[in-house]
């Protein structure tokens, strides 16, 4: 009997395992099964596939000069040439993965920092709450792109710095959302019960509160990913990304826009990929949010959006 009860025994009761698995994945799985979620996931999937597989299937090196500047599409260069006569298709295929990796890393960093700040502020209350939330207000007062540019111009356009900076500006809105979600939870009797047992605040937050905040966290991850991509692409457009010969969707828009009339594909394709990725991530996030709130029927969109902070851009 006891072997069944001990949690680290090799074969715990199958029922418990099944419940846990289903709960953990159900929100995502259910979101993917909605029409909205399926479309969003497909859009993200297409762009991710291009970014990941692209570098291996590119016909040319992204830095090789294979045609004349802004050459129109031809048989050998399907999307024509860019400002320096490099193959646009090859640069598009090779220029996405770093954007995705950096945006994802920034998002995870931002959500982790923001969640930690928001949960601590709500649970510890008092001066901790005041300090954290006032800092959040201060950071939110800056336009996020300006804030990142400021940091980057001080330290220099290091990729790690851009990643951290982009993550950092995502943290305040995450902190706000998680704070309000935690405020509601921390009044529950089960939190009182573990406090009565003498559980330390750090443990209460990590093992009692956090598991009940998975849903808002998932929504925030998706939402912040969208913003990270936009900010990252914007930074690259402004020249803060990998240093020039390296391909980058954001920077491609910037360097090729002077040739828009001769070879528009050099601008349209990277811009479209960024748009599709953003729209896809946003749509899938919206699907998650709908599943979380339980409004898969035609609900009040405005209320839903404001509940999860989906309405306002940073």
């Amino acid at each position: 009997m006891t072997s069944v009860l001990v949690p680290d025994s090799p074969s715990p009761a199958p029922a418990a395992v099944r419940t846990r698995r289903r709960r953990g994945s159900s929100t995502l799985a259910r979101a993917a099964r909605t029409r909205r979620g399926a479309i969003g996931l497909a859009l993200v999937g297409i762009v991710v596939a291009i970014a990941v597989i692209g570098p291996f299937v590119a016909p040319y090196s992204p830095t090789a000069f294979v045609t004349s500047p802004f050459a129109a599409p031809s048989g050998s260069t399907l999307l024509g040439g860019d400002v320096l006569g490099r193959d646009v298709l090859s640069r598009v295929l090779a220029g996405g993965w770093l954007l995705l990796v950096m945006a994802s890393a920034a998002t995870v960093f931002g959500v982790v920092v923001g969640a930690a700040a928001g949960i601590s502020a709500a649970y510890l209350r008092g001066s901790t709450d005041g300090l954290i939330m006032r800092s959040v207000d201060v950071i939110l007062a800056f336009p996020s792109l300006v804030f990142v540019l400021l940091l980057v111009s001080i330290v220099g356009p290091k990729l790690w710095l851009i990643t951290i900076a982009v993550g950092f500006v995502q943290a305040p809105p995450v902190a706000r959302v998680l704070r309000s979600a935690t405020l509601d939870l921390s009044e529950r009797d089960y939190v009182k019960a573990v406090e009565l047992q003498g559980m330390r605040p750090a443990k209460v937050m990590s093992s009692e509160l956090l598991p009940n905040l998975v849903s808002p966290l998932m929504v925030e991850l998706g939402l912040r990913l969208t913003y990270s991509i936009v900010i990252m692409a914007g930074l690259a457009f402004l020249g803060f990304g990998q240093p020039p010969p390296a391909p980058n969707w954001g920077y491609m828009i910037q360097e090729n826009r002077i040739g828009l009339s001769s070879n528009p594909w050099a601008v349209i394709v990277p811009a479209a990929l960024i748009s599709v990725l953003t729209v896809g991530a946003n749509t899938f996030t919206d699907a998650i949010a709908r599943v979380v709130i339980g409004v898969e029927r035609q609900g009040d969109d405005a209320t839903l959006a404001s509940t999860l902070g989906l309405g306002n851009l940073p």
């Binding site: 009997m1 006891t2 009860l5 001990v6 949690p7 680290d8 715990p12 009761a13 029922a15 418990a16 419940t19 529950r188 009797d189 089960y190 009182k192 019960a193 573990v194 406090e195 009565l196 047992q197 003498g198 559980m199 330390r200 443990k203 093992s207 009692e208 598991p211 009940n212 998975v214």
Partner: protein
């Protein structure tokens, strides 16, 4: 007032020097509402509870019973003295309080809300032991299984989430959790109010059995006089943040010495049809006033059929009217002479105070 409380007979017949399990003096819990307005939800309550004893706290909703409980366990900031086994808890910081926490546990009314929906029953039950490092994970899980058996549940349920259990099962889990750290005192805040009557009876029996086995003391909070009568050996009646009457169960039910207690007993529906015919179920007129602006003088006077001029002016203190029975009514002696729990004397003066 507190001096009188100390003279209460020691029911356990224990050594006179042994400190009581719980001794609360002049406990006050205040909330700040808006600008500068202070609500005294619990106002100067003194209680005493011996080891293995059950003290029932009864009152209408809004009387401050639950706030009293939260004040005692310091979930709410409270002024006054709280002595647990002679150790003063008031003024201790949370870190000093932490090692003492295992000695007092609580059972909440909402059996679902008091269990974390994302954690299994086993995780919930092992936590008290793991928090205080009383046992390894393996031992804690075995002990959780023992606890489950003791509260009459199958250890198979340890792997379930609270949502899969019935209300009665969940409340058994809550009781098991409260007892896991082997506390001397369990505060039960309306533990059966949300349950079916049949389940309610089972849970009450379980609590009584566990008290017999472990010698735990209960501070049992309920609005239900019948439940309190069954569970408590002594009773404290609360009204608007104050104790208005306290005494041994037998005496208090037989001959209440505060008009509020009398009305509360008349308001309670009786299962005995004979008695019911004799005395109609009579609700107490009016509603509990807001604790934000309590009435002047005796807090009960606007609803009291016995109220006279003095009641609106002077606040009566809790004093011993009969041996071991304390009442906070100016005219408790008159009630003592009446000797029956039935009708209330009409006020000597013409009209009740406004």
């Amino acid at each position: 007032m507190t001096a009188v409380l100390d003279d209460l007979p020691d029911r356990g017949g224990r050594h006179a020097c042994a400190p009581p399990l719980l001794e609360v003096r002049d406990l006050a819990v205040c909330y700040r509402r808006g600008r500068g307005r202070v609500v005294r939800a619990v106002d100067g309550v003194s209680l005493r509870l011996e080891r293995g004893e059950t003290l029932g706290v009864v009152g209408e909703s809004g009387s401050g019973k639950s706030t009293l409980a939260k004040g005692i366990v310091r979930l709410e900031a409270a002024a006054g003295s709280i002595r647990l086994n002679g150790t003063e808890l008031a003024g201790l910081g949370e870190s000093q309080l932490r090692p003492l926490r295992r000695q007092v546990q609580m059972v909440f009314q909402d059996s679902l809300g008091s269990l974390n929906p994302r954690r299994s029953i086993g995780q919930t039950l092992t936590e008290p032991l793991l928090v205080h490092r009383l046992a390894s994970s393996r031992v804690a899980w075995q002990r959780a299984a023992d606890l489950m058996a003791r509260v009459g549940l199958s250890p198979e349920l340890l792997h379930q989430r609270p949502g899969h259990l019935s209300g009665g099962q969940r409340q058994r889990v809550n009781i098991a959790r409260a007892l896991a750290s082997e506390p001397g005192l369990v505060i039960a805040d309306e533990p059966t109010s949300a349950l079916d009557v049949s389940v309610q009876a089972q849970i009450l029996s379980l609590l009584q059995d566990l008290q017999r086995e472990t010698g735990v003391g209960y501070l049992f909070i309920s609005h239900d006089l019948g439940v309190i009568r069954r569970m408590a050996s002594r009773v404290a009646v609360m009204y608007l943040g104050k104790v208005v009457e306290t005494g041994g169960r037998g005496r208090l039910y037989e001959r209440p010495l505060h008009p509020y207690t009398r009305l509360l007993m008349r308001a309670a529906p009786r299962p005995d049809p004979g008695q019911q015919r004799q005395q109609r179920h009579a609700p107490i007129p009016g509603e509990v006033p807001s604790a934000a602006s309590p009435p002047s003088g005796c807090r009960f006077h606007p609803r009291c059929p016995m109220a006279r001029e003095v009641c609106a002016v002077e606040e009566p203190g809790l004093r011993e009217v009969a041996p071991g029975q304390l009442s906070a009514c100016h005219f408790a002696e008159e009630l003592l002479e009446l000797n029956t729990s039935g009708a209330l004397p009409s006020p000597a003066s013409t009209t009740p105070a406004p």
